[in-house]
Symmetry: C2
Subunit: 390 residues, 2 copies
């Protein structure tokens, strides 16, 4: 049920002709309240798409009644005209929502906007605005799956989640298959909840959840211009969970979606967990995990079913983390192929034929840990990304 699993939300996904082939390309999520709380986490990329800059302002106010999302164009690097397109989209969404329902009076400042697709091209507003009107007409309590479908780009399947608290629920949808490396977040994601929660609680829960889920996903090292994660709260369950409860359930929802993103990454044949243990700090563990996750020689080796721990160690050596090169251990799928910085168990014992791979790096420098999730680097990745925009 995606974003419409919690009470107080309607959604829709329609085809407006932004994508070729008649696929759904406009999603609309509406919060019918009683509350209209929102929190957001955005790309750390300094080249931010127009909808990111718009939605940061919306979230700053702490209130959002609706989110309108489109695939088929990122509206990034489109200059002042592109920002005006985003503004017009929010204005139009507010107007059609207000005219469609006596219950709902929506201003443009209450409408978050998200876009995804090719960078550097203007959106076809003459198709997008009628699409928003059609989405408004299609809004329904069971519209979550259609909305999740409408935000797909190179995704092979929609990503949705439903996670239950005690009497309240978190629902969510996400898209993302390439340009998957976190700044603050890694793709488009809308989470909804019917819990009662104030803006600080929502914000803290979302940041805590992203930090250990989307921020630890690094499929291809490439940070997008459009990454946005939003959490909308309707309060319609009437239940106010503690901050810890809210954080736990939102984190579970984000972890579920992050796993679906990893599984559907462009061209990937492996889902790889880089588990760094024995670190002097969590930051060290994250830094080491990310260095390994971003190393093209490690990634091609894994594609070739090769437990090439030398490349892993060479990647660890590029970091500033605390470690002694003569003490580092590396295991691949449970076989400790490297102990104390040198060869140990026979690498031929490592079975890399499955899709799931675990690389464990023990720095022997402390007790902190972190896991970074990544993919291999395959022929299909090169193919998809050398042919995408042409």
């Amino acid at each position: 049920m995606s974003v419409t699993a919690p009470r107080g939300f309607r959604a829709a996904g329609v085809a407006a002709g932004l994508k070729s082939g008649g696929a759904r390309d406009i999603a609309l999520v509406v919060n019918d309240g009683p509350d209209a709380g929102v929190a957001g986490v955005f790309t750390a990329n300094r080249v931010k798409a127009a909808p990111v800059r718009w939605t940061q302002q919306v979230v700053h106010g702490g209130v959002a009644r609706a989110v309108v999302l489109n695939s088929g164009g990122a509206n990034a690097c489109t200059g002042p005209a592109g920002f005006q397109d985003t503004h017009a989209t929010a204005e139009h969404t507010a107007a059609v929502l207000t005219s469609a329902s006596a219950r709902l009076i929506v201003g443009a400042a209450d409408v978050a906007v998200c876009s995804t697709g090719l960078i550097g091209e203007r959106l076809p507003m003459e198709r997008l605005l009628p699409g928003v009107r059609a989405a408004t007409r299609a809004l329904a309590r069971d519209g979550g799956p259609a909305a999740a479908e409408a935000i797909m780009t190179t995704d092979s399947r929609p990503k949705t989640t439903v996670t239950r608290g005690s009497g309240w629920t978190v629902g969510g949808m996400a898209k993302g298959a390439g340009m998957l490396a976190p700044g603050m977040a890694t793709m488009l994601c809308v989470l909804t909840t019917d819990a009662v929660a104030g803006p600080e609680t929502l914000d803290a829960a979302l940041r805590a959840a992203c930090r250990v889920t989307f921020d630890r996903l690094d499929s291809d090292g490439c940070m997008s211009t459009n990454d946005t994660v939003l959490l909308l709260a309707s309060g319609s369950s009437g239940i106010e969970p503690t901050a810890a409860e809210l954080t736990e359930v939102v984190t579970a929802a984000c972890r579920d979606l992050a796993g679906q993103l990893l599984a559907d990454a462009e061209g990937a044949t492996k889902e790889v967990a880089i588990e760094v243990v024995g670190a002097a700090s969590e930051d060290d563990a994250v830094q080491v995990g990310r260095a390994v996750a971003r190393n093209n020689l490690v990634k091609t080796a894994l594609f070739g079913n090769d437990p090439n721990w030398g490349r892993i160690l060479a990647a660890v050596g590029t970091t500033t983390a605390v470690f002694d090169a003569d003490e580092v251990d590396v295991a691949v799928n449970g076989i400790w192929v490297c102990r104390a910085g040198a060869a140990a168990e026979d690498r031929s014992k490592v079975d890399l034929t499955g899709r799931a791979v675990t690389v464990r790096v023990d720095l022997h420098a402390g007790t902190d840990t972190a896991t970074i999730w990544t993919n291999d680097l395959s022929h299909a990745y090169v193919h998809e990304n050398s042919a995408y925009s042409t």
Copy 2:
């Protein structure tokens, strides 16, 4: 003539069975003097191969009579036993050189050692040591080309240079086709000169040369454990150039070799210059150039002949350089496809069918510039690096 172009040097390259198929795999370069100056620049990787740690000590003393190099094994991540292998190689080289010539008395501390090949495996010393003896017998004034051949790994051809000063010469050889991203240097390279120069002058010239050549080459973002660049000076021309003259000619030699490395990078179909101009500082320009050079989505786009400037801008946005996203211009092969952060000239005008590609990024934030050299990311890169160690 490679490293034997300057007077005062002999070299050899022989096959000792470290590589399969009977290819040359041991190189020896001897400095017959009268001087025996040496300077060196090494990988910044904290996981340093045994020969790097050994040779750093040799260079620290400022004197080297010989360099022995092997392909067929990097002797990296081999623990204390691997370091003993390097030590034994230097001892053996010193002994056979001393016994072969009444003129030359060489100690192990005067012998630099370089290794390249697979990480994590011990060297077959029972083949390597006899190979050093054979190389000593084969030493010749015209042995430079054979030495250059013996250090090749996945290189498709040897890389050599001869650059002339006024009455003196710099010769050089290098290897490197993968794991090409600089820490301080990017591969194995031995430069020789018959100029007269003190150790500080040699060191300053080599560092200045590397900084703007090998350090600006970033083929695949992967920093090796074994990178070593050595400059040996025999003084046998009797001519002492100024520091500026020496730096200029050494830089020209390094630039020549760096270009050959770029041209022969594993699986590459493009040689790409990322020219960053209008930067607030040279460091900013280097940071931006490197971010673009390391971006897999930019690299796959170039492989696909796609002038995808949006991906270039997204890569620029990940840096901390001074710039305003709404002012950045991007040209691909001379066509300004992006002006002021948005689409400008028609991207279909860009001709990417050739092997040489120039990406120019104007940050409009100052007057500093830097060029980073890189390659595309191709199917052949994935193929070579997923199959290398198996």
